[in-house]
Amino acid sequence: MRKFLSDKALRHAVERLRDARLEEQPPLEECDHNFSPRFERAMDQLEQREQKHIILRKAAVFAASLLLVLLAGAAVVLAANPKARAAVALWLRELRKDGIYYFFPEVDPEAEFPTYRVGWMPDGFVLDMEVIEERYYGVVYIQEAGDEAIIFYYLPLDQVDILGIHGNLDTAERISIHGIQGEYVPYSDAYGADLVWIDADNQLLFSVSANLDKTTIIRIAEGITLAK
């Protein structure tokens, strides 16, 4: 029988674990150590570098403001010229030996993050974990009688630096979820697959991963809908 672990109870227990572990650390006098001149020099450099970074960060804020002004100018050109607008790619897709890679150079860091939720799960799977963050949502369902798991997450594209989808590229497919282009990439070493689709209009990336058959994975993906 699986035990239910509430986040509140876990958080409280983890706090006590933290205190217990600290009590087990040796007292400071037993940890006395004379750092080498090499270490002292390195730490001095680190401190100087940090000071420089503070100055650079201030400069970066100015540069970003300037860039915004330039982009605002470019946006006027793009709005007026459909050809110019079409030339700006939201992402770059690259097929490499070890996976399919996406890069997102032109995303909006302030794109809305609407609420999507899972609408259908196969029988025998129960909610195990739900992670709700400001710009990330993830959920894990696990099999009541078994070890399989289904993981769904989605996030805005500005939260993704590089997306790498690894697996058996020979059997990978481009598929469509509610009219949105996606990649279905079976695992190389196990039953199951990753399914990733990117909603360009709303600048969101969705992912479903599971050790299940293709039809079931697609059905889970199609069941994910905007919460009202």
């Binding site: 029988m1 674990l17 933290r18 650390q25 990330y136």
Partner: protein
């Protein structure tokens, strides 16, 4: 920090390098430090120092097995501790670290992924495994009640 790093690297120079890298990481993640003098901060700094030491051993001595360190058991729980705390203290240290970072320091799955050099999906899976291990330990403890 040095003491913890040295326990892992077994080499004074490597331990100092790990401490330096830990400082660098902490400087880049200042928001994770609330009150400077607090148990949360001490725990955060300790975990970072240990993980930087593990990273360093992996990089410099790839043939050295770190399994014993990563799955290291911590001192046995004492009588009188709550059921959940007892179960937590029976987990391997790497699972304890994940749960501490997530539930005490407030790491997001993205931050866990960055620190452990794994994908966000893998970080999610690791959290799941840590929680499952905790459940299993609780189940095993139950008949003793």
């Amino acid at each position: 920090m040095y003491h913890l790093a040295y326990q892992i690297t077994g080499d004074p120079e490597d331990a100092e390098d790990a401490v330096q890298q830990a400082f660098l990481y902490i400087l880049e993640h200042p928001k994770k430090i609330g009150a400077v003098v607090s148990n949360s901060t001490r725990t955060f700094v300790s975990i970072i120092a240990e993980h930087k030491a593990i990273d360093l051993v992996r990089k410099r001595r790839p043939n050295v097995s770190l399994d014993s360190i990563e799955n290291q058991a911590v001192p046995p729980p004492s009588a009188g501790e709550g059921e959940l705390l007892r179960a937590l203290r029976k987990l391997p240290k790497r699972y304890q670290d994940i749960l501490l970072l997530r539930y005490d320091i407030g790491y997001t799955t993205g931050e866990l992924a960055e620190m452990l050099h794994i994908s966000r999906f893998a970080a999610h899976k690791l959290l799941l495994r840590a929680k499952n291990a905790l459940r299993k330990t609780l189940d095993e403890e139950a008949p003793e009640k």
